[in-house]
């Protein structure tokens, strides 16, 4: 991976030597037919299931969600003729579970859309995936990086793809203790507290690498995630579930090309962008590009946890939250709408009012998490 490192660094040099600047750029309205089918499919031996998502490309300036291809006839076909019809389809996701997969055979997907178009993927091998050796982390002076390590003694894997699910626990700095109900501040029961939340993110980057230039099929310290110091992800506890797949050389080429064309491109020292074509083709038109890829194989998973207390000080220390406290007198509290959060009362022995602050300081859900603790936690 580092081998084909691009010269992106020249920009940094330019920035130092000269006064370079980066401005947002909105491209001129492009023309042309962009209604292309996108196929994202994987046949998993590990879960005995296949999942195919069908969607469409949209114009660059389109702010809507790319439309799903609904109610298509999607079939998983074995190289000797056996087939399974995938169910679903109203949201573009098609699945079949409880499959018996013969790793010695090849599989493909066959799609017939409602509009009458027909598509086939290439037949793909069912690939074995070695176990993840470890998922490790190492702090630097300003961030924390999580790495994956694996190896294949048979030397057959060579090309790897990862995706991950990260989940982290975080809290509200001034959790609400009360809420207004019918004009009266009411003590929040424990199970309705909004002080601790859990947030889950899926990986968005393409994480692929290969050991083809190495003498052993070994991946050491492939970086998956970088977490800046003092961010909420590592404020309490962080967990990463890594899924590893062995992929074919074609898939590796596809994903690296896709990575190049979408994650860094357009610089003078980057390859010129080109059409990235996967392994799905139109049966009706040879010139119609079909986007996406279909693969099959095993998936191996590993989960790790990182506790805030295990981290070095420069990483774990959180900046002080900006939470201006405000005291609200009782008459005003009583006029507040239902479910308004309050932190705590003041005034002894007679409660004069309640202390409140901004909503994001009292309610952790504002930042996107849920209060329900995941099962694996």
């Amino acid at each position: 991976m580092t081998f084909t490192k691009k010269h992106i660094s020249v920009y940094a040099l330019a920035a130092f030597l000269f006064s370079s600047c980066l401005d947002p750029y909105s491209p001129p309205a492009t023309t042309g037919d962009v209604d292309l089918l996108v196929v994202d499919g994987y046949l998993s031996v590990t879960s005995s299931s296949v999942a195919v998502r069908l969607s469409h490309a949209v114009a660059l300036d389109d702010s809507g969600v790319p439309p799903a291809e609904q109610n298509a006839n999607v079939r998983l076909e074995e190289s000797d003729g056996g087939a399974v019809i995938l169910s679903g389809g109203t949201d573009g996701n098609y699945t079949a579970t409880g499959l018996t997969i013969d790793a010695s055979k090849k599989y493909r997907v066959h799609i017939q859309t409602l509009g009458g178009k027909e598509y086939y993927s290439d037949y793909v091998d069912v690939l074995k995936t070695p176990d993840i050796d470890s998922v490790t982390w190492r702090p630097s002076d300003k961030d924390l990086t999580l790495y994956v390590n694996t190896h294949d003694d048979t030397g057959n894997s060579k090309y790897y793809l990862w995706n991950y699910v990260e989940t982290f626990e975080y809290s509200a700095p001034y959790p609400a203790g009360y809420e207004v109900i019918n004009g009266e501040p009411t003590y929040l029961p424990v199970d309705e507290r909004v002080d601790i939340c859990y947030k889950t993110n899926l990986s968005t980057n393409i994480l692929v690498t290969s050991s083809e230039r190495l003498s052993v099929d070994l991946i050491r310290d492939f970086p998956l995630v970088v977490i800046p110091a003092g961010t909420s992800k590592i404020s309490r506890r962080y967990s990463l579930l890594v899924t590893q797949r062995t992929i074919s050389k074609e898939a590796y080429t596809f994903w690296t090309q896709l990575q190049k064309t979408t994650e860094s491109l357009g610089g003078l020292f980057d390859p010129m962008p080109s059409e990235v074509v996967g392994n799905v083709h139109s049966a009706t038109s040879a010139t119609e590009p079909v986007l996406g890829f279909f693969s099959a194989g095993e998936e191996k998973q590993q989960r790790i946890f990182i506790n805030n207390r295990d981290l070095p000080d420069n990483i774990r220390r959180m900046p002080l939250p900006f939470c201006p406290l405000d005291s609200i007198e009782m008459p005003i509290v009583r006029s507040l709408p239902d479910h308004t959060f309050l932190v705590y009362p003041y005034g002894v022995p007679v409660t004069l009012g309640y202390v409140s602050t901004t909503i994001d300081c009292m309610d952790c859900r504002v930042k996107g998490g849920v209060t329900h603790k995941p099962d694996f936690w």
Partner: protein
């Protein structure tokens, strides 16, 4: 002033009339004066002796003389009296005393006036006169201009023609003057000196006035009596222009009367006047201001000449090939301005002696060291420091020139607070060495060495180093006045290494190198006044080490892998004839025949027929032994030009040339990078062939002070390379599977208005040009843009350049440079789609959109130190502002998917005015 001249004339008249006794014995003087007017001293001397004074009362009326002299001669008395004033005196043998202001008067005849030896009186008086070197040369110049030179042994047979030859040199340092015109007016016969300052002119026997002109040198004449073939060495004075007048002088006729078209020649003086980007005179940037030359972006390496790719330029430095003329990924060029003499860019009408690249020849020559005295020069700019030393090793015979330049950017980087940059490295240096040796009148030897080195590392990641080295030796032998030969041998090597130790398991060292050894023998034969014939042979041997990777450190599991070495040999013979049919019509016709072989040892993959070449279509591999020919190509390369003079000030020219290129650069990035690889033509990759026709109209106006030219061209390229999407070029064992054959076409019109000399000089040019490529493949999966022609990366239809210099005085020079061009083509994403948890972009048709137009203004002011001839060091300051208007010109446009959003960015490199100060010195 007028009176002064009157005095001089009177004095000379007197000198002719009176022939009295010797002035030294006219008696001694006794005088006692205190604050007396000058007149009183004059009266005293005239009364005591028979001296007679000539002076201008106005220049002496403010003078008060205090003096006491007993029995002293007139020289002592006047010496004392006029000490500390602006007045000079001169005593002639006839007893006349001339008192002049500011300058001495000569009372004797010049040296060699009667050419009969030295007059005895001169010996005694000469010491009393202090000519400045300038006046002395002026005097000598007059002498040689009036002298009649007899060429060849005297004979009475003055029938027919004879050829005289020799060199034209700069009198101050003995350097040859290239492109000086040597001609007679009746009938109009002229030649131009070649790169050695050599000329050979065939004239009718008899008496002629030979005129010699060269840029920024004083024109001169020689009276010759041509009896038979012979030699005449000519030295020219630099044109030291007095402060109050500016003489317009240039090779004004060349553009109109010369044979060459599509050629631009720039000397270092012109280049040094242009505003600097980073405090450095950069020839590549200057060349970019010429019509027909483009680059993909600011601060990139490649030149795109008339719609050609960057690797199609033959860049020669003293006849050795330079593969990568850039420092810091293209922000600087590797040519040290202090050692350069001139740059010639041939865009069309390329003569038969050049070959090997399609688009252009950029011939960079360095100066020869000073043959007469030691000299040094240097400069300090914000990024670099440089020093050049030169001088004679053997006076008048051997000289050397050594120049070095280095950067202190590493040091600057370490001072920065940014953590990323602190761990970075960026450094370069270049060294030049030239030795020229005059063995005798007929043999000259030139040695040249060049080296540039760059090192680059960012934030402890991958580090890069690249280096370009070459050496050449050139021997010029003059057989006779009509024939001379130049034998050149050279070696060029370009190599780079990349290494990474970020991840110890994957740590590696990777390197690449290309080497060429070339030899050439070139004959120039001046058959007669109408024909000049040029012929020669050339051999180039290439050897490439296309890639080698090895583990770095003990932990590394990197596999050692080396691509097979490549060898090839390119041979060529050529002949060309410059035929002056009539004064109005000249024709050049030439042909070059090149023959190339791709040589073993090598294993060559064989592919199945009828399907696209890919790793899976390999059927076999064939082994060729060492020196076995694997593939061979060759063919004739005709070159033709014609010039027709419509009038004395206007001409029309036409040229056609075909070029073949057997080595190409593999690059699928927009700009050239130092880590691009070169590839020899082989069994699958055919050599590129280019054809160009061009037509031009040239006119000089207003006594040649304005030159107007209009040139149009059309060119085609066969077998250009394109690449399949996502091709990996580095360490690819079967690059032929990733290559797609393509062809190109380019056309354009270039208009240029130039004022070469004068107080205000410079040029304005407008270029309309287009450049297209088309992939040629029977397989739909390989073609780009459905197999249609699409604009190349450097297709910029409109370009306007203005370069102007205004000399306020000899010490202040103001320059303005303005550049406009259409933005380069880019490929924009057509659509976005969701895959792998994020938005991805769908790119399709290549280069259908453009980045915003480019516009930039630069200014610079040059301040020279005073012009006293004798002082320790001459220095100058240059203040420049690059991108004065601070326009944020787009360097590149790119898109990234960030947090589920596709965002477009425009990067500008020089987004603000960049002021620089450079200090230059010379000693």
């Amino acid at each position: 002033m007028k009176t002064l001249y009157t005095f001089i004339i009177c004095g000379i008249a007197m000198l002719a009339l009176t022939q009295t006794a010797n002035g030294q014995q006219r008696g001694l003087i006794n005088v006692e004066l205190s604050g007396a007017p000058f007149k009183q001293l004059v009266d005293a001397i005239e009364s005591q002796t028979d001296y007679h004074f000539y002076y201008n009362p106005r220049t002496t009326d403010s003078l008060k003389i205090t003096l006491s002299a007993q029995n002293q001669n007139v020289n002592a008395v006047l010496g004392h009296a006029l000490a500390g004033t602006q007045l000079h005196f001169a005593v002639d043998p006839q007893g006349n005393i001339f008192v002049t202001e500011g300058r001495d008067i000569m009372t004797d005849l010049p040296v060699d006036f009667f050419d009969t030896g030295v007059a005895p009186s001169q010996q005694t008086l000469a010491s009393g006169f202090d000519y400045t070197a300038y006046e002395k040369r002026e005097k000598e110049k007059k002498l040689v201009e009036s002298k009649l030179y007899a060429i060849g042994p005297k004979s009475s047979n003055l029938q027919g023609n004879a050829t005289m030859a020799g060199h034209v040199r700069d009198v101050t340092n003995g350097e040859p003057l290239v492109g000086a015109t040597v001609y007679i007016e009746k009938p109009l016969i002229g030649v131009i000196t070649d790169q050695f300052g050599y000329y050979a002119i065939t004239l009718p026997k008899g008496r002629h006035e030979l005129k010699i002109k060269s840029i920024s040198m004083k024109s001169t004449v020689r009276q010759i009596m041509l009896y038979a073939d012979g030699k005449l060495e000519i030295e020219l004075d630099p044109d030291v222009t007095p402060l109050k007048e500016v003489v317009v002088e240039s090779d004004k006729d060349v553009r109109v009367m010369g044979m060459q078209m599509g050629m631009e020649k720039l000397d270092i003086k012109t280049m040094k006047n242009m505003p600097l980007a980073l405090g450095e005179t950069d020839i590549m940037k200057v060349v970019l201001a010429l019509p027909g030359v483009q680059s993909v972006g600011e601060g990139t390496v490649g030149l795109n000449v008339r719609g050609g790719a960057a690797n199609q330029n033959l860049i020669l430095f003293n006849d050795a090939v330079v593969y990568n003329p850039s420092h810091l990924f293209g922000f600087f060029s590797t040519f040290n301005p202090d050692v350069l003499k001139n740059v010639e860019l041939y865009k069309s009408g390329i003569t038969a002696d050049y070959g090997g690249r399609l688009s252009s020849v950029l011939d960079v020559s360095s100066r020869e060291g000073n043959l007469k005295k030691f000299q040094g020069s240097g400069g300090i700019s914000p990024i670099t420091g440089r020093l050049t030393l030169e001088g004679p090793l053997i006076k008048e015979k051997t000289s050397f020139l050594i120049g070095a330049r280095s950067t202190y950017s590493d040091w600057i980087l370490r001072q920065l607070h940014n953590e990323r940059l602190k761990n970075s490295q960026a450094s370069f240096y270049d060294v030049n060495l030239n030795v020229s040796h005059k063995i005798n009148d007929r043999n000259n030897l030139y040695l040249s060495g060049y080296m540039s080195h760059d090192k680059f590392k960012l934030n402890t990641d991958t580090s890069y180093a690249y280096s370009d080295r070459n050496a050449s030796i050139k021997w010029k032998h003059i057989f006779n006045n009509k024939l001379y030969a130049v034998a050149t041998g050279g070696i060029s090597k370009y190599s780079y290494t990349m290494s990474s130790d970020l991840n110890p398991v994957e740590a590696f060292d990777m390197n690449f190198s290309i080497q060429q050894i070339n030899g050439k023998v070139d004959f120039s034969y001046f058959l007669n006044a109408k024909h000049t014939i040029n012929a020669g042979v050339s051999v180039v041997r290439y050897s490439l080490q296309p890639g080698h990777i090895a583990p770095k450190g003990e932990q590394s599991t990197q596999k050692t892998m080396a691509l097979q070495h490549e060898q090839g040999q390119e041979n060529a013979i050529y002949i060309g004839d410059n035929f002056e049919v009539s004064p109005k019509l000249s024709i050049y016709g030439g042909v070059r025949y090149s023959f190339y072989e791709y040589l073993g040892p090598r294993n060559v993959y064989q592919y199945a027929n009828g399907i696209p070449r890919s790793e899976s279509s390999i059927t076999d591999s064939l082994y060729y032994g060492s020196g076995k020919s694997i593939a061979s190509y060759g063919g004739a390369e005709p070159r033709f030009s014609i010039r027709y003079s419509v009038s004395q000030n206007a001409s029309v020219k036409f040229s056609y040339n075909r070029m073949r290129q057997y080595i190409q650069m593999l690059s699928n990035t927009t700009a050239m990078t130092p880590t691009d690889i070169w590839k020899l033509s082989d069994a699958y990759i055919k050599p590129q062939v280019g054809d160009q026709v061009s037509l031009g109209f040239y006119k000089n106006t207003r006594k040649h002070s304005l030159e107007i030219s209009l040139e149009a061209y059309y060119k085609t390229t066969q077998n250009a390379l394109d690449f399949k999407g996502g091709a990996v070029l580095l360490l690819n064992k079967h690059i032929e599977t990733d290559v797609v054959d393509s062809r190109g076409k380019a056309y354009g019109v270039e208009f240029m208005l130039k004022r070469a000399a004068g107080k205000l000089n410079g040029w304005l040019s407008y270029t309309y040009s287009r450049s297209f490529l088309q992939t040629v493949s029977p397989y739909a999966s390989e073609v780009v843009n459905k197999g249609d022609y699409y604009p190349s990366n450097y297709d910029k239809p409109h370009a306007v350049n203005f370069v102007g210099n205004y000399k306020f005085s000899r010490r202040f020079n103001f320059s303005l440079n303005m550049t406009y061009s259409t933005g380069r083509p880019i490929t924009l994403p057509l659509a976005k789609y969701e895959l792998g948890g994020n938005y991805r972009l769908y790119y399709s048709d290549r280069n259908q959109y453009r980045i915003p137009d480019y516009f930039r203004t630069d200014i610079s002011i040059n301040i020279e130190g005073n012009h006293k001839i004798k002082k320790l060091a001459h220095s100058s300051w240059t203040f420049a502002v690059y991108n004065l208007t601070g326009r944020a010109n787009a360097y590149s446009v790119f898109f990234r998917s960030e947090n589920g959003q596709v965002k477009g960015y425009k990067l500008s490199v020089f987004a603000q005015p960049i002021p620089t100060v450079t200090y230059n010195f010379k000693f």
